[in-house]
């Protein structure tokens, strides 16, 4: 175990054994098999460029994580506003009363997109992963691909963690002595100890006098100006060994200097040929792929569709510098990012749907009310019309019996009686069925 003298170590020195071996605990995702991604704390990420002030949460001062927007148009991380709200149920910015459930909603999509595109460093950069990737992909990278992610030790009876790269090497949780400082660490942590902690990790090169990290001796020996190395024309027959800093000098005098440049050109051509062949093979594969899918082959003049099929920079031609081990994984990670976007879209869709059906319900219930009202008025009117028709028929029948010739006007007296009759019955009817208009 390293001495508990660094500040971080001091804080955790009393915790369990499994957690005492690195000084970077804050960044270590809690590993529970595949749930690692869930444990990655996005608020601890280091951002590559400076982030627009508008994307910074006013509470935690880091770029938003699952931002929500309030009805008063202020944006916070979901966790931040929940914590702040528990203490004081107001908007932290303008201090207006705030109801957490009904007055906040997920921030607009454009904010999510901007956050997704921010470049972050892999949280395992303290352990040596130098990847810089957009924030939407980092969880996936750490959970599935990062060589330096801590994963459970493959040994069944060992419950410690080991970096993913070493997972094939069996249990590395046994004590070894550092050969430089005689401190005892676990094999799994030896490399990091010798990289960053070991008091004797640095040494001076005997030949050139510069300081280098001991266990990176090979790297130094490849560039040490005082180390002896073979002549650059060794391939063509020169057997001399000279110090690296005298290499240029020797090259001018080297017996093979005439053959050399020709040979160099040859090598260049050969390298070019190799890359061309590689590209050719790739194109062949692509053509086959297109043929299999039944796509119409593009004519030579329109090369656009082919270049559309190109993989993103860095994964097709520079295979060894690609951040992902293989193209499949790269696609997989893209796919996963898409998947999460689709999830977010569908949840947004659900929400919109909910809101719409609520709106529909509210409006249609009003319309229904009005409809029943109109229907009852209609009923009343219908009754009036029927009554008037009846009355009219009766009147005609009576007129037929009393004055078959219909020659003269009805007597005034008779008309008055009928009028009285109508108005009285109308009043009764109205009292029973008041029109509801």
């Amino acid at each position: 175990m390293p001495p508990p003298n660094t500040p971080e170590e001091g804080l955790v020195a009393t915790t369990t054994n499994a957690a005492t071996n690195t000084a970077t605990l804050a960044l270590r995702p809690l590993m529970g098999g595949d749930s690692a991604a869930a444990a990655l704390d996005l608020r601890a990420l280091e951002y590559e460029d400076s982030v627009d002030e508008n994307l910074i949460c006013p509470i935690c001062r880091v770029p938003f994580v699952t931002p929500v927007i309030t009805n008063c148009d202020h944006v916070f991380c979901h966790k931040c506003i929940v914590q702040a709200h528990a203490l004081n149920p107001v908007c932290p910015v303008d201090r207006l009363p705030l109801k957490l459930v009904s007055e906040t909603r997920p921030a607009p999509k454009i904010i999510h997109n901007q956050l997704d595109n921010l470049s972050v460093r892999c949280p395992n950069n303290s352990r040596g992963c130098t990847l810089i990737v957009s924030r939407s992909l980092v969880e996936n990278h750490v959970a599935r691909y990062c060589e330096k992610t801590l994963v459970p030790c493959p040994h069944p009876s060992c419950n410690k963690l080991v970096i993913r790269r070493d997972i094939g090497k069996g249990c590395l949780h046994y004590d070894v002595e550092c050969e430089y400082c005689e401190q005892v660490t676990q094999k799994a942590d030896l490399e990091e100890h010798q990289d960053t902690e070991c008091p004797n990790r640095k040494t001076e090169c005997e030949l050139c006098g510069t300081e280098y990290v001991r266990h990176k001796w090979e790297e130094h020996s490849r560039e040490c100006p005082e180390a002896e190395t073979s002549c650059k024309f060794a391939l063509f027959g020169c057997e001399q060994h000279v110090k690296r800093r005298r290499l240029e000098e020797h090259a001018l005098r080297c017996a093979y200097r005439v053959v050399g440049p020709v040979g160099e050109q040859l090598a260049e051509l050969r390298a070019e040929l190799n890359t061309l062949q590689e590209r050719d093979r790739l194109k062949d594969r692509r053509i086959k792929f297109l043929e299999n899918r039944g796509f119409p082959l593009p004519t030579p003049t329109s090369s656009e569709p082919i270049s559309d099929m190109n993989l993103p920079e860095g994964s097709s031609t520079h295979e060894d510098t690609a951040p992902y081990e293989s193209r499949d994984q790269y696609f997989l990670s893209l796919f996963e990012a898409m998947e999460s976007k689709v999830e977010r879209l569908s949840s947004a869709l659900n929400e919109v749907e909910g809101r719409h059906s609520m709106m529909l319900f509210n409006e249609s219930s009003q319309i229904k009310d009005q409809l029943t009202e109109i229907r009852s008025t209609m009923g009343v009117l219908g009754m009036h019309v029927r009554w008037l028709m009846n009355f009219r028929l009766q009147e005609r029948g009576r007129a037929g019996t009393s004055a078959p010739a219909m020659s003269g006007p009805l007597s005034n007296n008779h008309e008055n009686i009928i009028d009285d009759n109508i108005s009285r019955r109308m009043i009764v009817n109205l009292r029973e069925h008041p029109p509801r208009l």
Partner: protein, 154 residues
């Protein structure tokens, strides 16, 4: 999320070590629990002219959700400023620092500026009523005292 505080304080520290408003200087921030800052009143208020005062910030792990504990500390060259809301033991009665008046969007810089402006605007060269008694009897930490913000004219 108990670790929100340290992370945010680290960010604040990085910012205020670079630049602070005039009249405010960072004295020390050796850890993420206790910081010291000096403040001066910049206009020619005769009560505070020529003096420098020292503020102590104490942060709990739930900062910035909870307010920091801010008091003046007394040193040979750093008196406690006269103000009807500042007790002679350095305790400041400012609603911004109470759990009701605090907002997590405040920060060390904004608190310093608020205290600065609270001094700037003051015209009464006096202590709060009952200061002696309060200072003699006070065993509580500032946050546990229930202040009454009855006098809003100062």
């Amino acid at each position: 999320m108990a670790n929100l505080g340290p992370r945010r304080l680290t960010k604040e520290l990085a910012k205020i070590s670079n630049s602070l408003p005039p009249g405010i200087t960072l004295v020390s921030a050796d850890n993420l629990e206790e910081w010291f800052l000096d403040i001066q009143v910049l206009d020619q208020n005769p009560i505070y002219a020529g003096e420098t005062y020292r503020l102590k910030f104490k942060f709990s792990t739930s900062y910035p959700i909870e307010p920091p504990e801010v008091t003046f500390v007394k040193l040979d060259t750093r008196p406690i400023p006269m103000h009807p809301h500042i007790y002679s033991n350095g305790i400041i009665c400012l609603d911004l620092l109470g759990s009701q008046g605090w907002s997590p969007v405040q920060n060390v810089e904004s608190v310093c500026m608020s205290i600065q402006s609270m001094l700037t605007g003051n015209t009464k060269n006096e202590r709060p009523p009952g200061d002696e008694e309060f200072v003699r009897g006070n065993r509580l930490r500032p946050r546990d005292i229930d202040f009454y913000y009855h006098d809003n004219t100062v």
